[in-house]
C-alpha cells in the first residue's frame, strides 16, 4: 500500500525528515562516547539470525533450535526542529555484525569514521566499506590523552584516502569538537557530492 501521494497532497507543511548519519570505526575507538556527547543515547535492539560462524561463538547449549540472537546498538537523536532530526547510529565494531551495516547504510547522508592513531588499521574496513559504496565520509582522528599527535597529511597517506575527504582531529568527549566533526560531514556530504551516490530502493 502506498500513502506517499495522498500524504503529499494532504498537507503543504514540509514532510518530516530523519537524516541518518553513521558513526564507524574500530572497537573501542569512541563511537558510543561521540554519540553520547552530542545527543541522548537510546538503545535499539535488533534480533538477527545467527550465521554458522557465530553459532560457534555464542553458547547455545540448552537452547534447542535457537537460531536468532539479539544485538543491541546505540543510537542518538538530535532534534533540529519538530519534524527534522539527525539520527546517529554507531555501526557495530565486531566483524560478526557486518550484516547490519547494509541496513544502517541504506539512505544514510554520510558517515564519520573514527580513527585512533595508535591503531590506525582498525578503521581500514570502515574506510573500504564507505568508499566501495560511494557513501560520503569524513575521518575523525580521536586524540586520546597521551596519544601521539600525527600530522593530517601523514594520516591521509597512511589511510590512502582521496585529498578531498576531510580529516578532523577531534576529542569525542568535547561537544564543540563533535559539533565540528558533524558540521564538516554535513557540508561535505551535501556540497561535496553533487549527485546522490546511494539512492534508496
Amino acid at each position: 500500500m502506498d500513502f506517499a501521494a495522498s500524504e503529499a497532497s494532504a498537507t503543504t507543511a514540509p514532510p518530516a525528515l530523519a537524516i541518518k548519519i553513521l558513526i564507524a570505526g574500530g572497537f573501542g575507538v569512541g563511537k558510543t562516547t561521540l554519540v553520547g556527547t552530542i545527543s541522548e543515547i537510546r538503545p535499539l535492539h535488533t534480533e538477527e539470525f545467527l550465521s554458522d560462524r557465530s553459532i560457534g561463538i555464542d553458547d547455545t547449549s540448552g537452547v534447542e533450535g535457537k537460531v536468532t540472537t539479539t544485538v543491541a546498538l546505540d543510537f542518538g537523536r538530535i532534534t533540529i526542529r519538530e519534524g527534522l532530526w539527525l539520527y546517529l547510529f554507531g555501526t557495530p565494531g565486531q566483524d560478526r555484525f557486518w550484516f547490519m551495516w547494509d541496513e544502517l547504510a541504506v539512505g544514510a547522508l554520510g558517515a564519520v569514521v573514527l580513527a585512533d592513531t595508535r591503531r590506525l588499521q582498525d578503521c581500514f574496513p570502515a574506510v573500504d566499506y564507505f568508499e566501495q559504496r560511494g557513501i560520503p565520509f569524513v575521518v575523525g582522528v580521536n586524540c586520546f590523552d597521551g596519544a601521539r599527535r600525527y600530522e593530517v597529511s601523514k594520516i591521509r597517506k597512511a589511510l590512502g584516502i582521496a585529498p578531498e575527504i576531510p580529516i578532523i582531529l577531534c576529542d569525542v568527549r568535547q561537544r564543540e569538537s563533535v559539533k565540528e566533526v558533524l558540521t564538516t560531514l554535513v557540508t561535505y556530504a551535501v556540497k561535496g557530492v553533487p549527485v546522490d551516490p546511494h539512492p534508496v530502493g
Binding site: 500500500m1 532534534t79 539520527y87 546522490d196
Partner: protein, 116 residues
C-alpha cells in the same frame, strides 16, 4: 554492544505470531510513521499496537518507535506492517538523501548543530 539471552524471544515470537518480516514493502530504519486514524474496535489490537498509534500521532521514525516500545527492530516492523495493512498508519518511503536535503534544510541542520 551486548548479546542478550534468548528468554525474551519466546514472548516476541508470540507478539509477531512467529513472523520475521512485516507484510507489505520493507520498512526503513528511519521511515516516518504517522497515525492515520484510531481503530473502530480498539479491542482488536494488542497493547503494543495501541501504543504505536498513540505515539505516532506525531510523526515518528521507526527507530524511535522501536526504542519507545523497547522491542527489537524486526518485531516492531511486523507490528507496524500489520497497522499499515489495516490502514491505521502511514509509513513513508524515505527519499534519496540528495532529494530530501535542499539548501533550506541544509542550513537548518547546520544552524541546529551549531546551537547545540
Amino acid at each position: 554492544m551486548t548479546i542478550e539471552g534468548p528468554g525474551p524471544l519466546i514472548r516476541l515470537f508470540g507478539l509477531t505470531k512467529g513472523r520475521a518480516r512485516p507484510v507489505g514493502e520493507p520498512i526503513d530504519l528511519v521511515a516516518i510513521v504517522t497515525t492515520l486514524r484510531m481503530p473502530v474496535e480498539p479491542t482488536d489490537l494488542i497493547p503494543e499496537q495501541m501504543e504505536v498509534l498513540r505515539m505516532c500521532r506525531r510523526p515518528t521514525p521507526v527507530a524511535d518507535v522501536a526504542a519507545q516500545l523497547k522491542l527489537p527492530l524486526n518485531v516492531t516492523r511486523v507490528i507496524l506492517g500489520d497497522l499499515r495493512r489495516e490502514g491505521l498508519v502511514a509509513i513513508d518511503r524515505p527519499r534519496p538523501v540528495a532529494q530530501s536535503i535542499d539548501e533550506r534544510i541544509y542550513r537548518e541542520v547546520l544552524h541546529g548543530l551549531r546551537s547545540l
